[in-house]
């Protein structure tokens, strides 16, 4: 009976399964199974940290009026914040718009717990804040009559009135007054001051508007009181200020402080003098060194000029009292502190302790963007240079001294020097001595005795899974920081004086890791390549990234750097050299001693340059190099004419990336081989001509052979464009003007069903163009930055980290942007989910949960010792670091692994088996006795 019924069953059952939705959902569920990427609540803060910064101070003020004493700062990064006076921590922070629209132009004095701020360009917005709570009280826009003169507009806020002051050349000054709280225009007045012209250098020191005319010793200072309706222009000669013998060129600038004053520098900035402007201009007959920074304030009723001089780590604060006829100087402080570097006073607050004794707190802002509070000694420092990081590398920590000593046992090189010990007896002696050392160290540690002094922090060593690393961050101020990755502590700092990025727009500097920390006894080495601030030629700075000590120091190159490259072969001491191409296409090797190694691989080494101004891309080969000289010769050139397009991005793959699988298995069990070209570079350009105005062009170029592989154009789109290029795919985002939404497009390159070459890829012999799969998706948020995760062996799936404008960083699985996501729901493949036009933003995929990070400028990812884990460092205005595991931690036991449960169960089973054995034998005995 059974077989006939079963056959009937089978037929129906199959149809039943296929018809029902259940089966389809089951497959989808299985494939989506690894898409849940959540954190658990108890993992918060265990391996991630966030640091908030404000940026370089532009304006600052002490708030002694309200209950909680704080410092209000407005910075160059368009941020206003309140800092705690005692610790420097941020009490509250408001981030204004980015770039031109949020630039803070005027800052009122703090009164009544309220602050008025003018920010923006054309037109400006006046915002009026409550300082205890940090929320806004009112906001109003100022209409600007002369939009092209916005840079010359000065603002003055006094007594609840905002003055908009615009100098008009050869005519006068236009003063418009507004009520600062409501925005009502009060009156507008024009003061005639014919001395203002384009050559004069003018400064507003309310209530006077002063201009310096002339360069030689006949220079005159013209001034006029702009708040007095019937004032007349007046003048004062340079000689009145300096006496005889002063020489140009002269410069005037406003002295920061509570009293209106300007400083005039002479003799090419070798000395300067002040001119007080409260009632009548009064020159101060006191010479101040040109390099010193000045600040003017008053202690009660006495006017004091504070002078700050910096010389080789020694900061001296001098106070000059100005009420008597002869100014009297007194040295207030003399500090030697590493954190101060050419500081300036930006704010002071003084409390009267007793007659004639003042306790003053000075807020100092150094040239390297750090903020310090000085009160007899430096109370705290904030390293605000970290708000603008330009280059990051994550470096492995070295092994502990003990482990390194074990390694040297087998170090061939060392033993080659001393032949006699490279024999059985010598090795035995070495091993015994190292083991004796280890025993000694162990006993010492067990007894809690002091370990031997090592010049290495005990916890800065490589941990078992390689998750503890050193983040080396280079900032735009020329300061390099070493941050350890576990808690975000600053380990070391280095200052590289007088450097800047290679181009004005991007501040970009290049950091290379020439040698890691795996080659004991050679120290790890990093090199920073930048441009000199004065001459623009290249500079190289070499340092040890683990302890922050300069190795070869600053080397000035006497040429401009056009392109640089890290060589893939190492010298005998495991150092990878850098090849630098200068603007005349001559190649240099750094360090020079590595030239032989570089020329030996010259035949197969190529370098390419992109000139954004002329749109010319060229490729060079080093095949004609001699063993002493590296010679570059051009092998290809192509032109993206700047008439039609402007190159915005040139993106290549990460050089340490590895691709694990050669192809993709399709539904019918055939293999689609990937086109993995390590020399492929994606070039993104924006249309500039009137025809091509809103187009985005993407070109894929093989930079060894110069052949273009693919090109694609998107019409009616707008930037900003963010692009990720990895393995055999590209993911890029843009703003679609027609539908007004952000879209993400993916390209994936395949060779086809057959592989062209099984063993090695050569750009010079491949001629077949790849098949490109493409797809576009809608993304429901705006993107600030994108980066892909990377692991050591490339086995883990790739996730794309997307930094959103709302402060979150989203981990987007690549499977969601796979271009082979089929529109046809019937066809199914492994690991491919059906197509949906909108990409979902899963809230549990946001790796920084509620620790928002604003104004993200870049994300850096690095592999760790575990294949499943990738380390992520997000930098921008804030810093955030965490770990992601795209395929969940498949190579480690999970954190809440029930060790106890297993032990208990095992123990229970063992015990119960013994007990039952005993009971059974007892029963047998009893029965035998029956």
């Amino acid at each position: 009976m059974a077989p006939p019924i079963l056959t009937i069953f089978r037929g129906n059952f199959n149809r039943f399964c296929i018809d029902s939705q259940f089966f389809q959902y089951f497959i989808v569920l299985l494939s989506l199974f690894n898409l849940s990427l959540c954190l658990y609540e108890d993992q918060v803060g265990k391996f991630d940290w966030r640091q908030n910064y404000v940026g370089k101070i532009k304006f600052a003020n002490f708030d002694n009026v309200s209950q909680v004493k704080k410092i209000i700062v407005a910075t160059e990064e368009n941020v206003i914040a309140a800092l705690n006076i005692k610790t420097g921590q941020i009490l509250w922070r408001r981030v204004l718009e980015k770039g031109y629209a949020g630039r803070i132009r005027a800052f009122s004095n703090v009164a009544d717990d309220e602050l008025i701020l003018v920010n923006g360009g054309v037109p400006a917005i006046v915002r009026y804040w409550n300082l205890t709570t940090g929320h806004i009280l009112n906001e109003w826009p100022i209409a600007e009559q002369n939009p092209d003169r916005i840079e010359d507009v000065q603002w003055h806020i006094n007594d609840g009135t905002l003055y908009h002051i615009l100098p008009i050349y050869n005519s006068g000054v236009e003063v418009t007054a507004y009520d600062s709280k409501t925005g009502e225009k009060l009156k507008s007045r024009k003061i005639s001051a014919p001395f203002i012209s384009q050559e004069t250098e003018c400064v507003l020191a309310s209530p006077y508007f002063i201009c310096l005319k002339g360069d030689s010793s006949l220079a005159i200072l013209f001034y006029i009181n702009i708040f007095e309706p019937k004032s007349q222009p007046q003048s004062i000669t340079i000689n009145t200020i300096f006496g005889a013998g002063a020489e140009g060129p002269y410069r005037i600038s406003l002295v920061p402080g509570n009293i209106a004053a300007i400083s005039i520098s002479t003799d090419n900035n070798r000395r300067k003098r002040l001119l007080l402007l409260e009632n009548e201009p009064t020159p101060v007959p006191h010479d101040i060194d040109g390099e010193n920074s000045v600040y003017i304030t008053n202690f009660d009723d006495k006017k004091v000029v504070l002078e700050l001089s910096y010389n080789d780590k020694i900061t001296t604060v001098m106070a000059t009292y100005l009420n008597e006829n002869e100014p009297q100087s007194e040295k207030l402080h003399r500090i030697i502190h590493n954190d101060l570097y050419r500081p300036e006073i930006v704010a002071t607050t003084c409390t009267c302790k007793s007659l004639k004794r003042y306790a003053c707190k000075f807020l100092l802002s150094s040239e390297d963007h750090s903020i310090s509070l000085l009160d007899k000694k430096v109370l705290w420092t904030r390293e605000e240079a970290l708000a603008r990081i330009v280059a990051v590398e994550i470096v492995e920590l070295p092994m502990s001294d003990r482990d390194q000593a074990i390694e040297t046992e087998f170090d061939l090189k060392e033993s080659l020097d001393v032949d006699s010990t490279w024999d059985v007896f010598g090795m035995l002696v070495r091993r015994l001595s190292s083991q004796a050392n280890q025993v000694k160290a162990f006993i010492q540690a067990a007894l809690g005795l002091e370990p031997q002094q090592s010049n290495q922090r005990a916890d800065l060593v490589r941990d078992k899974f390689g998750l503890h690393k050193m983040i080396v961050a280079v900032t735009s101020a020329g300061k390099i920081f070493g941050i350890e990755s576990k808690k975000g502590e600053l380990i070391w700092q280095l200052r590289v004086p007088n450097i800047q990025g290679f181009s004005k727009e991007s501040d970009q500097m290049v950091l290379y890791v020439q040698r890691g920390s795996r080659h004991f006894p050679h120290p790890p080495q990093c090199s920073l390549l930048a441009a000199d601030k004065d001459t623009g030629s290249g500079v190289i700075f070499t340092f040890n990234p683990i302890n922050g000590q300069a190795l070869d120091g600053l080397t000035k190159l006497n040429y401009r750097v056009k392109q640089s490259m890290l060589l893939h072969v190492t010298t005998d001491s495991f150092l990878r050299s850098i090849i630098i191409l200068d603007e005349r296409d001559r190649a240099y090797v750094y360090p020079e001693s590595a030239t032989a190694v570089a020329t030996s691989v010259g035949r197969n080494t190529y370098i390419f340059t992109v000139d954004k101004a002329s749109g010319i891309l060229s490729g060079y080969s080093f095949s004609y190099s001699t063993p002493q000289n590296l010679i570059a010769n051009k092998v290809w050139e192509l032109v993206l004419s700047p008439k039609n397009q402007r190159i915005t991005h040139v993106v290549s793959k990460d050089p340490i990336e590895r691709v694990h699988s050669q192809g993709r298995v399709l539904g019918d069990r055939s293999v689609l081989y990937k086109y993995i070209n390590p020399n492929l570079v994606a070039i993104v350009t924006q249309g500039t001509s009137s025809v091509q105005k809103n187009t985005l062009n993407l070109y894929l170029l093989d930079v060894v052979s110069g052949s273009m592989v693919f090109s694609i154009v998107h019409k009616r789109t707008k930037g900003p464009v963010h692009i990720v290029h990895s393995e055999n795919w590209l993911v890029y985002s843009y703003f679609n003007e027609k539908s007004r939404r952000t879209e993400i497009a993916t390209l994936e390159l395949y060779e086809g069903k057959t592989q062209s070459n099984m063993t090695v890829f050569s750009s010079l012999t491949t001629t077949k163009l790849p098949i490109v799969e493409r797809q576009a998706f809608i993304f429901p948020a705006s993107i600030e930055s994108m980066r892909e995760t990377i692991t050591e062996k490339g086995i883990t799936s790739k996730h794309i980290l997307v930094a959103l404008a709302n402060g979150g960083v989203l981990e987007l699985p690549w499977m969601l942007v796979d271009p082979r996501r089929s529109i046809n729901p019937e066809m199914r493949e492994e690991g491919v989910i059906p197509y949906m036009p909108e990409l979902p933003i899963h809230v549990d995929g946001i790796i920084n949960y509620n620790q928002s990070v604003f104004r993200i400028s870049g994300i850096h990812t690095s592999p760790s010792g575990l294949e499943s884990t990738c380390l992520v460092f997000v930098h921008g205005l804030d810093l955030f670091y965490t770990r992601v595991a795209p395929s969940k931690t498949f190579d480690v036991l999970k954190e809440d692994f029930d060790y106890y449960l297993i032990v208990i169960v095992l123990a229970a089973l063992v015990i119960s088996s013994y007990i039952t054995k005993k009971l059974a034998s007892q029963k047998l005995q009893k029965q035998a006795w029956k």
Binding site: S36, C38, E41, G120, R127, P141, S690, R740, A781
Partner: protein
């Protein structure tokens, strides 16, 4: 006369079409700037927390910002005409975004954001009133170990249940009353479960089997 008119009309046609094409290329720059206003409501038990500090309003992904006053109202100033997506940014609560469109004559229209069907208009009151939708659930609950997980594990179940039977049944058996009850039950329900094959063969060849059964019965009696 008619030809003259036709001639003039043709010229107008040409001029208008050319000017049309020219006009398409020029940018219509209107210099009027507008202000977007609205109110953001806090979530329950926000109360005394500085929620206005943690929240701000963003237009078009950071092009313009609006900050909240004490009562939650905000203004975004200096906005030229166009279409803007207004979002409220808060690390703990999600708010629904709204699309505000200002046309060149200064008329405001607020509607829901639909990125797939961009022409769909579901209007939303302007000035904006933005309420929190749901708190963000960033975390996943850890799998708790419960005693029931352990007990209902099939392996454990298979182990423990037979154990219980083995221990308990003999105890029951030793009790005389229950013994009698069980025997009675057995008598009542003891008809042998008919073997499948026998049932089918009997069904198909009913005659012969009956005879065999009666012979059996007779035999038993003897």
């Amino acid at each position: 006369m008619i030809q003259e008119i036709r001639f003039i009309l043709a010229i107008f046609l040409v001029i208008s079409s050319f000017s049309n094409s020219l006009a398409e290329n020029e940018d219509d720059v209107s210099t009027d700037l507008y202000v977007i206003e609205g109110k953001v409501f806090s979530w329950e038990n926000a109360g005394n927390t500085p929620w206005q500090l943690m929240t701000h309003v963003m237009a078009n992904g950071g092009e313009y910002y609006g900050f909240l006053r004490e009562d939650g109202t905000f203004t975004i100033s200096n906005v030229p005409f166009g279409s803007y997506v207004i979002e409220v940014i808060n690390p703990n609560y999600a708010y629904e975004p709204v699309r505000v469109e200002i046309n060149s004559k200064g008329k405001f229209r607020a509607r829901k954001v639909n990125l797939i069907q961009t022409s769909q208009v579901i209007q939303v009151p302007y000035p904006l009133k933005l309420r929190p939708l749901t708190p963000f659930r960033y975390f996943q609950m850890r799998e708790q170990w419960r005693v029931t997980d352990f007990l209902f594990n099939p392996m454990v179940f298979m182990m423990i249940l037979p154990l219980l039977f083995i221990i308990i049944l003999p105890k029951i058996m030793n009790d005389p009353e229950t013994k009698k009850e069980i025997e009675q039950l057995n008598n009542l329900t003891s008809y042998n479960m008919p073997e499948m094959s026998e049932v089918i063969t009997s069904f198909f060849s009913s005659g012969e089997k009956q005879k065999a059964k009666t012979v059996k019965a007779v035999k038993k009696r003897q």
